[in-house]
């Protein structure tokens, strides 16, 4: 096999933390190579080095057998390396064409649009993809945005594609499309690196897999020689069992906690995003809200939590009308909100962990005497939370924004659960988290269900919805297409409701 890329002995330190420890990595021409590991295993760091975003402290990179220095993304692009980041590197207020044209050197200076439009057409015909070149990025779905990223790489004639967690934001059918495209590209001699922590994915599309753990390379294996259990063991360095949900049974109380009736909510553009939606959530029930993102889930959640105005219809919590009474009023009735964008809406990144943990009740005893905060008590309380929820942080004074995604999510949960909620609204609570954090969060949610909380769980991860929910509501195009009891639900049925069939 012809080696297109070799990375030898790559080491990268951030302060005292070693993100990459003498990692060797080789890529063959025309293969899909999985880079597998938990969050924080060093996958993204390694690829950021390859893409010139970070400079390695030690180690060498060879492309086609020649030693290269990659100091910036510019160098990487020159060498034919393209990266599709987890958070898309697209400019929201620009069109598809403008995004593709950005940084493309062989486009004419005047009227670059016309040329790029042609290129996009060529690409979409060759690989049978539809995309409107003049659409604005913020109007596109996650799957479409990713397609734009891939078109960008394609237009730059990249030979090495790096995809960082490409399916995180995609629906199952969009992920299938993506894999189909990757296989076509592979057939044309393009080499692909797939960064992921999803075992199913690597088994489905990869030829070889490199497993990283704790910044070290564990092994590189052929897919044909391994199975999921073996990969999981290598990822976590322990015997982890992938468990199936034992029983699919519904159990919850009769009394209704959240009652939504004929709800209509407008989106940012002033068009109806939630149309005449009605449902109930009972005490001790987890209602899973499945659906492709952008079908009104976000607006629905914002309406229930008081962040968005209700145009028509009503919302009742424990028989009390809370329609349009504002966020504070709703939260004071015992609603916990785990928001979708945890960095932006879940925490104040620059404030310390302890300050973030009391944000829901900082203004009352014992933390405050209505004038001053008692940092002694706050600090003790935060220490308790850190150990109870197993948050890994240096101490309770570190800025919350420096924690990893999983720990931030645990911090948010700890804070939201501290008010003993009657209703928990959880939006994508495990998105982008590693298996262990995901499991901990699932356990917490199930425990709250046992205690009698009503939980609305919004997720694009169907497995998660299936694992936790008592009933599943599927949202499509602003309406609820059906509410299915878990014992009668299966992935195919939900999947077809999700796409409006």
């Amino acid at each position: 096999m012809e080696k297109i890329l070799q990375m030898k002995g790559i080491t990268k330190r951030f302060g005292n933390i070693i993100a990459n420890d003498k990692i060797d990595f080789g890529l063959n021409k025309g293969e899909i190579h999985g880079l597998l590991g938990e969050n924080g295993a060093g996958k993204t760091t390694l690829m950021n080095i390859l893409y010139g975003l970070y400079t390695p402290d030690e180690g060498e990179i060879y492309i086609d057998g020649t030693r290269v220095k990659i100091r910036s993304p510019n160098d990487a692009i020159e060498l034919g390396i393209s990266m599709v980041h987890q958070s898309f590197k697209l400019i929201q207020s620009h069109t598809v064409v403008e995004n593709v044209a950005l940084g493309l050197r062989d486009t004419s200076f005047f009227y670059p649009h016309k040329q790029i439009e042609k290129k996009i057409k060529v690409f979409s015909e060759r690989y049978n993809f539809r995309i409107d070149p003049n659409a604005l990025i913020w109007q596109l779905s996650a799957g479409e945005k990713q397609r734009v990223e891939i078109i960008k790489a394609f237009c730059r004639k990249a030979r090495i594609f790096i995809l960082d967690e490409p399916t995180t934001m995609l629906t199952p059918s969009e992920a299938k499309d993506l894999f189909r495209l990757l296989k076509l590209l592979k057939g044309e001699g393009i080499s692909i690196i797939l960064i992921t922590h999803k075992l199913d994915e690597v088994m489905e599309v990869c030829d070889r897999i490199t497993i990283l753990s704790g910044g070290k390379r564990i092994d590189t294996v052929d897919v044909s020689n391994v199975d999921k259990d073996k990969l999981a063991r290598m990822m976590f360095g322990q015997n982890m069992v992938l468990k199936e949900r034992q029983e699919y049974s519904i159990n919850f109380y009769e009394d209704v906690v959240l009652e939504v009736r004929n709800l209509t909510v407008l989106n940012d553009k002033g068009l109806p995003a939630v149309k005449d939606v009605s449902f109930d959530i009972h005490r001790g029930e987890i209602l899973g809200l499945a659906g492709v993102s952008g079908n009104g889930q976000r607006e629905l959640i914002e309406a229930i939590t008081g962040l968005r105005k209700v145009t028509r219809g009503s919302i009742k919590i424990l028989d009390e009308d809370v329609t349009n009474i504002g966020t504070k009023g709703i939260l004071n009735r015992g609603v916990a909100h785990i928001p979708e964008e945890r960095m932006r809406m879940g925490i104040v990144p620059s404030m310390s962990l302890e300050e973030n943990v009391i944000l829901r009740n900082y203004d009352r005893a014992p933390f405050s005497n209505s004038l001053l905060l008692d940092y002694g008590i706050i600090s003790e309380y935060a220490k308790g939370i850190i150990s109870k929820y197993r948050i890994s942080a240096l101490n309770e004074k570190v800025p919350a924004g420096t924690l990893s995604g999983g720990n931030i999510q645990k911090l948010i949960l700890a804070r939201e659960l501290s008010i003993s909620p009657v209703l928990i609204i959880a939006s994508h609570p495990t998105q982008g988290l590693d298996v262990r954090s995901t499991q901990q969060i699932h356990e917490l949610l199930l425990k709250k269900k046992e205690e009698g909380c009503a939980i609305l769980l919004v997720s694009e991860d169907l497995q998660e919805i299936m694992d936790l929910s008592d009933r599943i509501a599927v949202m499509f195009n602003g309406t609820i297409r059906g509410i299915i009891d878990i014992d009668r639900a299966n992935i195919e049925k939900i999947g077809s409701l999700m796409v409006g069939v």
Partner: protein, 307 residues
């Protein structure tokens, strides 16, 4: 009717320094840099153009030096905000203070001195006879025509060239532009420099064409109105025309209404009352059309900020 045409004809030169400054500031802000030093760069442009014209007797040399001085001052701001990543608001304000103070010092000897060169009106053959439009737009001085052309060029480059895409991308998300291989600092330096040159040119227009005289502090808040026009124009050069001539018109009315017995103090307030109104109007339009200022406006860009 004649009164209206006369007012509108006077509106164009009154709005031209604003237009020139706004075109420049639009480019600066589109690149993500906020330069509050427009007032300072304008007044330095005004005094340098005036003194150069007086020494050489050539208006065009005066104009040239004002462009150089404006651009040079902008580079100070660029160095502060791009290289040192300092607070852009403070750096811009400092530039304004510097310009106001320094121009006063240099201009001491020029107060009340008549200008030794002059830019004459140059009616455009053929166009000037078009009814209404002709006398308003095409019976003006050469710098006004240059401002028309510059508006066209600024609009065209921003939306129809690769440079325009790069400039707008840098101001929206420098990290995206960076990972696409764009030299963020270079684009920002260039945009800030262009902005300074335009502000200098606007100042020159004020002292050697519009006035033409040197009066200490003669920009009298025009730099701040330029910033308001930049927002009102929603960062689009073609809309800057509208805002600039609107404020130009108010300035003309200030003089025309005075003989009617309206208090001059009230009239002096007019531009600023309208600044507030225009900003309110723009805010409404911005939220209705879902337009926002360049996302990274005023935020210094660091590459390895994660971890």
């Amino acid at each position: 009717m004649n009164f209206i045409i006369e007012v509108l004809k006077a509106t164009i030169p009154a709005g031209t320094p604003l237009l020139l400054g706004a075109l420049g500031e639009i480019y600066v802000e589109r690149s993500g840099i906020l330069n509050l030093g427009v007032e300072g760069m304008m007044i330095m442009g005004a005094i340098s153009a005036f003194s150069m014209t007086n020494i050489t007797g050539n208006v065009w040399l005066g104009v040239l030096i004002s462009i150089i001085i404006g651009g040079g001052m902008a580079l100070i701001h660029a160095f502060n905000s791009i290289t040192l990543k300092a607070n852009q608001t403070l750096s811009g304000l400092a530039l304004t203070m510097l310009g106001l103070g320094l121009s006063g010092l240099i201009g001491k000897g020029y107060i009340g001195v008549p200008l030794s060169g002059k830019l004459h009106n140059l009616p455009v053959y053929g166009f000037k006879d078009i009814p209404i439009i002709g006398p308003i737009f095409f019976d003006q001085d050469p710098l006004v025509y240059i401002s028309y052309v510059l508006t066209l060029i600024f609009w065209f480059f921003l939306f129809n060239t690769r440079f325009g895409i790069e400039l707008r991308s840098v101001g929206e998300s420098p990290d995206v532009a960076d990972s696409a291989g764009i030299n963020v600092a270079k684009i920002q330096y260039l945009a800030t420099f262009i902005g300074g040159m335009m502000a200098g040119l606007g100042g020159a227009y004020l002292s050697v064409v519009y006035a033409p005289a040197w009066i200490e502090g003669m920009t009298a808040g025009m730099g701040w109105i330029v910033l308001a026009i930049t927002i009102f124009s929603l960062w689009r050069p073609e809309r800057a025309i509208l805002g600039s001539y609107f404020f130009g018109c108010i300035r003309v009315l200030q003089y025309r209404l005075q003989p009617l017995g309206i208090s001059p103090n009230l009239l002096n307030m007019l531009p600023f009352i309208f600044t507030i109104l225009v900003l309110m109007l723009a805010a409404r339009e911005i939220s209705r059309k879902r337009i926002s200022s360049p996302s990274s406006l005023g935020i210094p860009y660091f590459r390895e900020k994660t971890l």
